[in-house]
Amino acid sequence: MTFVEPIDREERARAYLNQSLEYLENASKAFKDGNPEKAGEFLWGSVATALKALVMAKKGIEVRSHSQFWEIARELTRETGDVSIYENYKEANSLHNNFYDSRLSLDDIKNSSKKIAELVKKLISLTEDALKN
């Protein structure tokens, strides 16, 4: 993990937040264009960048590896007591895998997308709280 000085954290965290929202919009467009695998990959990207935003805002740490996302999702679930964070993170990860090995149905992806959008909202809200303090 790379440590970022406090003065640069807010700017980086906001850049990740914007990126996360952009991916969410792109996912919606990809669904409309009849490309669910691509939509799933955008949803995963939205979760990953929202997690990056939160960790940057709270701790000034740059997340670099896929395994760190799992650790962070577990830790957030433990700290908040909200088990849906980890469950929905796993859904996002399965969409990421599906992009390379397409096995999920359109309905599966659509069901996951609702849960993932909720997760992104939670992560954005936590990040906004961190940036206010």
Partner: protein, 105 residues
């Protein structure tokens, strides 16, 4: 007699700079010790104080009262938690932690 006087003069005013066997000076030895002490504090904080997110070292010095190394630092127990101030006292001979506590928060 004059030679003896000159020798004594040189010895008296010879610049004092203790150098250890491996070429280290007293200052570099102390800095090296301080780095090791911070590593011990960091490890102890993560393992035994649940302060897994390391912040910054605020003080690292030999405590005048106890002669132990005293490290004051900030760390955070969780991703969503703020940073708190902690202090750890370390035995300079053995490197063992003698006392540790969260100072504030």
């Amino acid at each position: 007699m004059i030679n003896l006087f000159i020798c004594l003069h040189i010895i008296t005013f010879l610049p004092v700079n203790f150098v250890y066997k491996d070429g280290e000076t007293a200052v570099s030895q102390t800095l090296d010790d301080a780095r090791k002490v911070i590593e011990i504090a960091r490890d102890y904080a993560a393992r035994s104080m649940q302060a897994s997110y390391w912040g910054d070292v605020l003080e690292c010095e030999i405590d005048k009262e106890t002669n132990d190394w005293k490290v004051v630092f900030t760390a955070s127990p969780g991703l969503l938690d703020p940073y708190y101030k902690y202090e750890i006292f370390i035995d300079p001979k053995t490197g063992s932690v003698k006392r540790a506590r969260r100072i504030e928060g």
